[in-house]
């Protein structure tokens, strides 16, 4: 039975499924791709200065589009427990961290409108990190740890 706050927090972040999180990430990536491919100079704005330094709008749009497609594929084909889906989560987390980091470093004060993007960056990192934490404790529980 969950009683104190740390138990409830642990249950909320560890005992929840990440399918909805992946779906949300896939949808956000799709929207990024659409808005970057939209006619007009999006990267002309100062917020995207560091993203523009790395690649053009079209390249970023393709990266988001392909990532979104693969993310949807993972969820809809029930592949979230495969090894490649785990490595994909690393790529996804790197992508979100770069995008959010670039926006935060490009303008000051931080744009309030990217609160959602920051949350998605944390969510993407959690999709990458959580399986490793769970695996670590699963190994311990099954007695594969080094004996002291």
């Amino acid at each position: 039975m969950t009683c104190n706050l740390s138990d409830r927090v642990a249950a909320a972040i560890f005992d929840s499924d990440l399918i909805a999180t992946r779906l949300l990430l896939a949808f956000a990536e799709f929207l990024w791709a659409v808005m970057l491919i939209w006619p007009g100079d999006t990267f002309g704005r100062p917020t995207y200065a560091l993203m523009a330094e790395l690649a053009t709008e079209e390249v970023w749009a393709c990266a988001f589009g392909v990532t979104s497609y693969l993310q949807f594929h993972i969820v809809l084909s029930n592949k979230q427990h495969t090894l490649w889906a785990h490595y994909f989560a690393l790529w996804n987390s790197l992508l979100w961290a770069y995008v959010v980091g670039s926006m935060l470093l490009s303008v000051y004060p931080p744009p309030a409108a990217i609160a959602g993007e920051i949350s998605l960056m944390v969510a993407a990192a959690w999709v990458w990190v959580r399986p490793m934490i769970l695996l670590h404790y699963a190994r311990l529980a099954h007695g594969h740890a080094r004996q002291h």
């Binding site: 330094e53 690393l90 770069y98 470093l105 990192a125």
Partner: protein, 31 residues
Amino acid sequence: MTYTFALLALVVTWNAAPMLMLCMVRWKGVV
């Protein structure tokens, strides 16, 4: 360009840190 490299370093650290911490925990056998 300096900012880009600094950001890349930050991004890699953000994603590698939890993994390194887990490796350390496993290696030291803390928990």
